[in-house]
Amino acid sequence: MTGRLATVGLRITHSIPVILGVVVVSFLLTRALPGDPAVYFAGPAADAASIAQIRTALGLDKPLPEQFLIYATDVLRGDFGQSISTGQPVSEDLANRLPASLELTLTALLLSCAIAIPIGVLAATRPGSAVDHLCRILVTAGVSLPTFFTGVVLIYVFYYLLGIAPSPLGRLDFIYIEPDHVTGFYLIDAAIAGDWETWLAALKQLVLPAVTLALFTLAPLARMTRAAMLSALSSDYIRTARASGLTDNKVLFTYAFRNALLPVITTLGMVFSFTLGANVLVEKVFAWPGIGSYAVEALVVSDYAAVQGFVLAMALLFVALNLIIDLTYSMIDPRIGFEAK
């Protein structure tokens, strides 16, 4: 057990250099802004004196390492700069909008795991069957779907043609009032408040974007599950289990599936990466008020502090998610703790 704890500690320390790297990259990105950042931050009406003043205020006249230190300290304090379009601190904007993005992303991921993993397992255990073919089609077609296009098609079919989906504008139709802020997740907050009408309305808004995102992540997950199951099923220990007369269920779940889960969990990291990226596109299509659409809006008005703050926030979020994946992995795989010793 101490081995396990040491592993957990080791994994956490492992992510420190990664976080450092992320901060360095995002620092470089802010300094690589086209033109002089001081001119840009000073605004169009600025004269030479105010530009110089801004330069000093931003520390742009200092050497690069010192600038980095200032930047890193700011980031550590949670100061991502000021957004010129909203006039608010970027970190505050992001914090306000993060729950919307998380609610969408997590719902989509749960949805796709719930579909992809069973399909992958079934396809692997019944090669050549209808499920296998379905899996193949899903896998190849799924990775070819541009998320933003899927979203547009779904809106056309379910909103315009069939009229069963609400208008694709945000998290809640304007006739409803936002539930009291507890977690920021409308589904949870509305449930806590016991306001089931709002809950249903929020769910209706959520379905299409979540399905769009889930369709995108379905493919890699199903592909990996199928491949991992196939390779687990053809391994020697499955032969031993079969030769011992164990039942199909035991062989399939206790022996094959638990082993197959390991590579699937590893893939989840990549899937998260895709999902967080695709999230931006889906938020734009559905006018979802998350941090993705915030960044897109900021891009349109060249609000660089907001964009770079968003990039950094996403990276930190992703590092955290990867850490969780790593920890889950080392919980399941007994071999991990051993390596750490």
């Binding site: 032969r239 031993t240 289990a241 079969r242 030769a243 007369g245 164990l246 007994p334 071999r335």
Partner: protein, 550 residues
């Protein structure tokens, strides 16, 4: 009445080139309490037979004819559910590569419990103690603690014990052992085989031992069936099959099995035995190794692979380097081949210290051509995208000034020399058989006429009959080209055939060195004695086969 009876069994596999018959109508019986050995070289259908008996054939395989019965039950007609009840409870199986045969992320105790619960041999309350009993039965110390171990925490031999514990947990009547010792060290091999036979006789079980090693089968089995190309060619009592083989193929197998008191020529069939060539030996040192050490930086501190090794190889001499895996013999040979730098020590070659030139730069050293190597796994040692001609020609192109045309004829000359048909030179490695690949590997190594040749288990992956041919080829080449050999192997019996002197290594140190015959007949070190006694002992022939066949 026999426990198992197989009548006219045929098994075929669907492949891209149509149906392939792996087993072509074999019949055999296993009596109660009997240990039957099925012996054959790769592709003989011996494993397929056992999988057919368990009805666990790989995808595409099917029983296309014949009858299988176990204790009166028709296994061919049994439903899958009936088979599931039989597997593990009546018939059990153990496999080669025991580590892979265990679920890597499940505690070994739980894996035994799974089988016990499946066949209702234990209840929820006593399953743990029953599992520990099963571990104790296979003589695992601290069974209580091992219960919680994962396979990766156990040694190969220990894993095989666990696999045996799983197989025997439900007291089956028949144990099928499919190459149970392949991949294990020679001393572990003996321990595992001794354990299996002891448990079988204790429990009055029958067993089917499938192996490529005739010596092992002769030592541990009551009766032997010899298979070739999916057919049974000979059947009889072990000592009888070994001492008085009736079929030509068995005779060849018996002859090819290295054993005490037999020369390398006697591994071949009598009509293929050419006179032993005369060897020229000069009493001058070619290679002097002085206090060689090698330390690797491992994750958990330094690993001392070689701890001060000194020996001499004289011109024209052949020296054997013997030891089990991890003894440092491969590291030593890599250093001598100048692929690896030693941590300290000297490697004097014709009086010059080779270790002064780093391995990184040695490829352009003029002495590169003098030291060449034949690799253990021929397949792995060839670039899969090169033809045999390119492979053999590569050292000629890099290390000599030969023109293209000259190289071409030299390659063909080499092919003839090693007995490789010239028309095979344009094939890729995967299109060649094991023996042919071994020849290509040897041709490449002698292409630039080295003085010193390192042979790293060159026959380990080969069937015995091909091993016999390759060993004889090496003897001929040594005489013809005046080569000096360093023959690295785990098998003392093979080393003895080819070497004048033997060095035995253990844990990075030399424990014994001396003339080959002397080390074999009167070893001074305890470890050498263990190695010698652990190797399977085929019965000594009462009548020499050579005269029997003449």
């Amino acid at each position: 009445m026999s426990l198992v009876s197989i009548k006219d069994l045929k098994v075929s596999f669907k492949t891209r080139r149509g149906n392939v018959q792996a087993v072509r109508g074999i019949s055999l019986e296993v009596a109660k309490g009997e240990v039957l050995g099925i012996v054959g070289e790769s592709g003989s259908g011996k494993s397929v037979t056992s999988y057919a008996l368990m009805r666990l054939l790989d995808k595409g395989g099917s029983i296309s004819g014949g009858d299988l019965s176990y204790g009166g039950i028709d296994l061919k007609a049994a439903s899958e559910n009936e088979m599931k009840d039989l597997r593990g409870r009546e018939i059990s199986m153990i496999f080669q590569n025991p580590r892979a045969a265990l679920n890597p992320i499940r505690k070994v105790g739980h894996q035994i419990e799974d089988v016990l619960c499946r066949h209702a041999k234990a209840t929820r309350s006593n399953v743990r103690s029953e599992a520990i009993k099963a571990l104790e039965a296979v003589k695992i110390n601290d069974a209580e603690q091992r219960y919680d171990a994962y396979p990766f925490e156990l040694s190969g031999g220990m894993c095989q014990r666990v696999v045996i514990a799983i197989a025997l947990a439900c007291d089956p009547k028949l144990l099928i052992a499919d190459e149970p010792t392949t991949g294990l060290d020679i001393t572990t091999q003996k321990a595992v085989m001794d354990l299996i036979t002891e448990l079988i006789s204790e429990r009055d079980m029958s067993a089917l031992v499938i192996t490529h090693d005739l010596g092992l089968a002769a030592q541990y089995c009551d009766r032997i069936v010899v298979m070739k190309d999916g057919e049974v060619v000979e059947e009889g009592q072990s000592d009888q099959v070994f001492t008085a083989p009736k079929h030509q193929y068995t005779l060849k197998l018996v002859d090819a099995t290295p054993r005490i008191g037999v020369s390398v020529r006697e591994l071949l069939l009598p009509d293929q035995r050419t006179p032993f060539p005369e060897l020229k030996k000069v009493d001058l040192p070619l290679l002097e190794v002085r206090d060689l050490t090698k330390t690797f930086q491992g994750k958990s501190g330094p690993v001392h692979a070689v701890k001060g090794v000194s020996f001499t190889v004289k011109k024209g001499q052949s020296v054997g380097l013997v030891g089990e895996s991890g003894c440092g013999k491969s590291t030593t040979s890599s250093i001598l081949a100048r692929l690896l730098d030693p941590t300290s020590g000297e490697v004097l070659f014709n009086g010059e210290d080779l270790s002064k030139t780093p391995a990184r730069k040695f490829s352009r050293d003029p002495r590169r051509a003098s030291i060449q190597m034949v690799f253990q796994d021929a397949t792995d040692s060839f670039n899969p995208r090169h033809t045999a001609r390119q492979i053999i020609g590569e050292p000629l192109a890099r290390l000599t000034q030969m023109a293209r045309k000259q190289r071409r004829s030299r390659v063909e000359e080499l092919a003839v020399l090693v007995g490789l048909p010239v028309k095979l030179l344009d094939r890729f490695p995967h299109q060649l058989s094991g023996g042919q690949k071994a020849r290509v590997g040897i041709a490449r190594a002698i292409a630039v006429e080295p003085e010193f040749l390192i042979l790293d288990e060159p026959t380990a992956a080969l069937d015995v009959s091909i091993q016999a041919v390759v060993l004889n080829l090496l003897v001929d080449l040594r005489a013809r080209l005046g080569l000096s050999f360093l023959f690295v192997s785990h098998d003392l019996h093979v080393v003895r055939l080819l070497c004048d002197e033997v060095i035995v290594m253990k844990e990075g140190k030399i424990v014994e060195a001396g003339a080959a015959e002397q080390v074999m007949t009167s070893p001074t070190h305890a470890y050498t004695r263990t190695l010698l006694s652990a190797a399977p002992h085929p019965p000594i022939l009462t009548v020499p086969t050579s005269s029997a066949a003449e």
